[in-house]
């Protein structure tokens, strides 16, 4: 049982970049840390000592520190969210590392996610994808009783598996092409699988896929995205999205009378 905390010494090689257009560089620091600490608490401590020594702390983002808000996310030794499966950066603990390890920390690297500073990146394109159709049109007050439309439990559960996406962008960062397929597919899958989402299904799919393509690279079926996903969103949703996109192309034209 690992009840007893151990202190380990790690070498941190961390990316520093002053602003979006500045050149970046790696900085190396030593940090002694308890194996009970979380990875981000290790960075907190490092920042505290940098501040004490008169060096600006490393900018990195986090909020809930429970793996649900999707704010955190860095590359740890080349992997989005680090070595532990189904784990966001904030849930990773130092007991996953050993004394003497070198840990390389970089921002999520993707053309769609420009660096803001150090480890913080701009993931706003994900919001643009939602804006283009990731909703069900229902004005407040217009809804009928919730139990009027039963939803088969299986459909509901499957929609939920997609809806579990926390929008962290690790899928994009893990992909060699910086593709946004897994995120978009999760969002489309969530709504398209529910009876409530049917009216806008085809328009939604076409709009969201095409907005995604404006910002992100194309998918060549590497599967790295699902591997890196802290919520283990399945690649099946990408297949589902692709099928719906093809259908949408046909149906949307039919809807506008173009056959």
């Amino acid at each position: 049982m690992s009840n007893n905390a151990e202190i380990i010494n790690v070498t941190i090689k961390v990316w520093r970049q002053d602003g979006p257009t500045s050149e970046g560089r790696f900085e190396t620091h030593q940090q002694a840390i308890s194996t009970h600490a979380s990875f981000l608490e290790m960075l907190d401590l490092l920042n505290e000592s940098l501040n004490d020594q008169g060096h600006e702390p490393i900018a990195f983002e986090s909020d809930c520190r429970e793996g649900i808000c999707g704010t955190c996310g860095v590359m740890i030794n080349g992997r989005a969210h680090g070595p532990q499966k189904a784990t966001a950066t904030c849930q990773l603990h130092m007991r996953e590392f050993s004394d003497g390890d070198e840990i390389v920390i970089e921002p999520f690297r993707a053309s769609g996610f420009p660096v803001i500073r150090d480890l913080a990146v701009d993931r706003s394109p994900l919001d643009r994808i939602i804006e283009s159709g990731g909703y069900i049109t229902v004005n407040t007050g217009a809804a009928s009783d919730a139990n009027l439309t039963p939803v088969p439990k299986e459909a509901s559960d499957q929609a939920f598996d997609a809806a579990a996406c926390i929008g962290c962008g690790a899928c994009v960062a893990a992909c060699p092409n910086s593709a946004g397929q897994l995120f978009t597919a999760a969002k489309i899958g969530h709504l398209n699988l529910l009876p409530q989402g049917q009216a806008e299904r085809w328009k939604r799919t076409e709009n969201m896929v095409e907005t995604m393509e404006e910002f992100f690279g194309s998918c060549t079926n590497h599967g790295e995205c699902s591997e890196a996903c802290p919520k283990e969103i399945s690649l099946d949703f990408i297949a589902f999205m692709n099928r719906d996109y093809l259908k949408a192309k046909v149906k949307n034209r039919a809807l506008t009378g173009q056959k």
């Binding site: 049982m1 009840n3 007893n4 905390a5 602003g19 194996t35 600490a37 979380s38 981000l40 608490e41 907190d44 401590l45 505290e48 501040n51 004490d52 702390p57 900018a59 909020d63 809930c64 520190r65 649900i68 808000c69 999707g70 704010t71 007991r95 803001i116 500073r117 701009d122 993931r123 706003s124 919001d127 939602i130 804006e131 990731g134 909703y135 069900i136 049109t137 229902v138 004005n139 407040t140 007050g141 217009a142 809804a143 009928s144 009783d145 919730a146 139990n147 039963p150 939803v151 088969p152 439990k153 509901s156 929609a159 939920f160 809806a163 579990a164 929008g167 969530h190 529910l194 409530q196």
Partner: protein, 640 residues
């Protein structure tokens, strides 16, 4: 009646007040709505639902959040569920019962009229969320499933696995983004409110700082809505997200908005204890664990044997012993206080002796490992990930932590603060939970405020302003506010002290936890009233904030937030000191029954304490809003 705090509760029967009020309010006709600009700060459940709905109605809305995306607001982290008086389970629930339970649960310190309205609109929330595609749990017939939560005697809680908050927020966020696409809502993310601007006693806008470029910008509007969440992080360690803070509410307070009941804070009994000094936040373990886990501590003080080596007859199942009827299922405040008592008495467990055991061995022996894992598997995994211990083999260690703040900006029945045109919704206001919030009722309140209450009441306030433009941002009230923000930022960067912002935040948190935590007493509170300003003074002289104001600078952001926490903490101490009774989350050692339960003083304290800012260094003024209970009889809670 004190003119500052006229609650404007409509006359009539409790069940008809809201209906009548909706009818008697002024309306803004559809074509006039676009002539009004409304600022909504915060895009959690309360803010996102409000901004989306106001946009749908045709108002011109500007929504602000300091997060990079609205979906990241702290609401996302809620696990357990959301209450609604749907009575789908046919087990005797009703609007009246939800109303009654909420008033009682709040230990008779909330406004009856507000609570009744909340219970009334609760049913619409579920309809709205379901229509948006929120995947609530369903049964095999495809209908919505409910569970009982937090000791409620009916099953009225709707849930979405352990992610109710995330699913509801995605619903509200998607409605918001639909309005962004439609052009009715202008979204400003990574924009932090740093001042509320008023002119002639009326709110006319805000000043924000772009967290990436550092640019400070004025925004004007006909009305300003604060949906900026709670202040639990005043304790430094809490279950709140790292960035939750009181700054928006506090700056409004400094501009004249009253702050109500700041001492009402909720400490949740089942969190993972801190493991070391570097601990950055605490993690909540769902309350549902108390349905099957048994809570105990070793009878011997400082017993450092492993849990398994302590024989049955040397264990103290203190909740079962003291409360035979409710046992491990006593309400949150009772469970929390009792944990503190045993730990303070030296019975704490774990490496830092700062926890109590929550033991599943009996349940596993009774129901089998599979049954327990099916119920709690994800929670057990989460526990193991954080502590490195396997709760199937060794009991969990838990300890109470700050979770929710019932206090907040004072608002009237229309959710308007005493400052005209300034509204507060969600956890940021003080309204519906009295001295203690029931489980699964915060999500309900945030969405009730945002979807179904504010969109009506704000029209009433706006109707009179038809034809007037917002105050131009070139007005001196704005230029002065901007100069103030820039000055403050310059001052932080020039202080050049020796210790980090976090260092002082942690110190402050310790003071607040020790003196204004689970149990409070006169001496401790008086100490806090002197110690907090002293530490604050040191903070302002000796904090070290590096970098510049025109880039992303997280220390600079935190510096201002922690400064506001200092001022709030002092007010919490004063509020707790003056409330010479125990009620809900506010427990004064001096006021307890012979059995050690909270002893209210209804004669002298059945009121809201609403505090007025009287300037830097001055003692704030306490106003009272009397509470009347015409529909629920006041009684002493008992769980024996």
């Amino acid at each position: 009646m004190n003119p500052l705090i006229n609650a404007k509760i409509p006359a009539g029967d409790i069940a008809e007040k809201w209906e009548n009020h909706k009818f008697s309010m002024n309306l803004v006709n559809p074509s006039n709505k676009r002539k009004f600009e409304i600022i909504v700060v915060g895009t959690g459940l309360a803010g996102a639902s409000a901004a989306a709905t106001l946009g749908e109605l045709g108002y011109r809305v500007k929504a602000f959040t300091f997060h990079d995306s609205p979906r990241r607001a702290h609401s996302i982290a809620a696990q357990g569920g959301i209450n609604a008086a749907k009575n789908y389970t046919n087990d005797g629930d009703s609007v009246h019962r939800l109303f009654y339970d909420t008033v009682k649960g709040g230990d008779y310190r909330s406004r009856e009229a507000n609570v009744h309205r909340l219970a009334e609109v609760s049913v619409n929330i579920i309809d709205q969320a379901t229509a948006q595609g929120v995947p609530f749990a369903r049964d095999y017939g495809g209908l919505l499933d409910n569970r009982s939560f937090g000791g409620a005697q009916v099953s009225r809680t709707f849930y979405a696995r352990g992610q109710t908050g995330q699913q509801l927020l995605i619903g509200a966020y998607s409605a918001l983004m639909r309005q962004v696409a439609a052009g009715t809502v202008e979204l400003h993310s990574r924009a932090e409110l740093l001042d509320v601007v008023t002119k002639d006693g009326q709110a006319c806008g805000i000043v924000t700082r772009d967290l990436v470029s550092g640019e400070v910008t004025p925004h004007s509007a006909h009305a300003v809505v604060l949906a900026t969440g709670g202040y639990g992080n005043v304790y430094f360690l809490s279950t709140n997200a790292m960035m939750c803070n009181v700054t928006a509410a506090w700056r409004a307070h400094r501009k004249g908005a009253l702050f109500a009941n700041p001492c009402y804070t909720q400490i949740h009994p089942t969190c993972i204890p801190a493991s070391d000094d570097f601990q950055s936040k605490l993690t909540l373990m769902s309350e549902s664990l108390r349905n099957d886990g048994r809570i105990w501590v070793p009878e011997t003080k400082a017993d450092n044997r492993g849990a398994g080596d302590i024989p049955e007859n040397e264990r103290d199942y203190y909740l079962e012993r003291k409360y035979p009827a409710f046992g491990n299922l006593v309400p949150r405040d009772v469970a929390s206080r009792n944990a503190k008592t045993v730990v303070d008495a030296g019975h704490g467990v774990g490496p830092l002796a700062n926890g109590v055991y929550l033991d599943f061995s009996g349940a596993i022996a009774r129901d089998g490992l599979d049954a327990i894992s099916a119920k709690y598997g994800n929670l057990f995994d989460m526990y193991q990930r954080i502590t490195g211990e396997n709760p199937y083999q060794t009991p969990m260690r838990i300890y109470p932590a700050t979770h929710y703040t019932m206090g907040g900006l004072w608002v009237d029945y229309n959710l308007m603060t005493n400052v005209k045109g300034l509204y507060a919704i969600g956890e940021a206001n003080f309204s519906d939970h009295g001295a203690n919030r029931l489980g699964a009722s915060a999500l309900m309140q945030g969405l009730a405020d945002g979807y179904f209450v504010l969109p009506y009441t704000i029209g009433d306030g706006l109707a009179g302003q038809l034809g007037s433009d917002p105050v131009p941002t070139t007005d001196p009230v704005f230029t002065q506010a901007i100069a103030g923000v820039n000055d403050t930022n310059r001052r932080w960067l020039a202080t050049n002290g020796t210790k980090s912002v976090d260092h002082y935040h942690r110190e402050l948190g310790r003071l607040v936890w020790d003196n204004i935590g689970m149990a409070r007493n006169k001496a401790g509170l008086q100490q806090a009233v002197t110690d907090i300003p002293a530490l604050k003074e040191e903070y302002h002289k000796n904090v070290r904030v590096l970098g510049s104001a025109d880039t992303l600078n997280q220390s600079l952001e935190k510096a201002g937030r922690v400064a506001d926490f200092f001022e709030l903490a002092e007010l919490m101490a004063r509020d707790a000191l003056q409330r010479e009774e125990s009620c809900g989350g506010h427990f004064r050692d001096e006021h307890q029954t012979p059995e050690g339960e909270a002893q209210r003083d209804d004669e002298n304290f059945a009121h809201v304490a609403a505090w007025e800012w009287t300037g830097e260094g001055n003692t704030p003024t306490r106003h009272q809003e009397e509470l009347t209970f015409d529909n629920v009889a006041l009684s002493q809670r008992s769980y024996k």
